[in-house]
Subunit: 129 residues, 2 copies
């Protein structure tokens, strides 16, 4: 039997906490959604990252839990849960979390987490969860 | 006296609740940030919107408070606080909130909220808060 009710498709929202609960490592962003050629990634961070910049794109940080500090060469910003910050392209920055921070990044597909350099902190790209 | 400490710039994060507290009307998105040619908008909605589609872009919904329902022609999705959903380009959809929902939209700059049609629900574009 087929009618309008039984054939209705059920779509699934994307739950940030559910996605974050599936891993515990730090500095390894997981892709959870795409919009056009942009990717949404969740990541856990703790401690200090490396100075880097993205020459061709802005980078968006949305904090879900904890307090993120982003150092720039001429100052810094604190970003708490329920807040966001956009680092303009070409601006050197260094994320830092005294205690663990859970956050979402928005970047064009293909962006490398360490910017113009590849090093021991460069993570696997395009890792979905 | 000028030294490194006094000349350090202080950057400001963007707080979603603060921005939403500055207005009470419904279906009137306010821009709070830009990333490349994309805009982040916060909006309060309540009740039913109109069917529409965006021919040239996906549209991202991130719910901050309440439960959003997005109807599509072949089904629907429920999106709660802490969740997101991306409506693919060209897909007809109709947001609905039984009780007030506070959410963030991400769209390319210049996108019209009612999609291909302009009507009484079309909001002012590029309104910053």
């Amino acid at each position: 039997m087929s009618d309008a009710t039984t054939t209705r498709q059920s779509y699934q929202s994307i739950n940030f906490a559910d996605k974050l609960a599936r891993f515990t490592d730090h500095w390894q962003p997981r892709v959870i959604a795409e919009m056009n050629d942009y990717q949404f990634k969740v990541v856990r961070i703790e401690g200090d990252f490396l100075w880097h910049e993205h020459a061709d794109t802005d980078e968006t940080f949305i904090v879900l839990e904890g307090e993120l500090r982003i150092d720039m060469r001429d100052g810094f910003v604190l970003v708490s849960a329920g807040e966001m910050f956009v680092v303009p392209k070409g601006v050197e920055h260094k994320p830092y979390a005294e205690r663990e921070v859970k956050m979402m990044l928005i970047e064009p597909r293909g962006v490398i987490n360490t910017g113009g350099e590849t090093n021991e902190r460069t993570s696997v790209n395009d890792m979905w969860i």
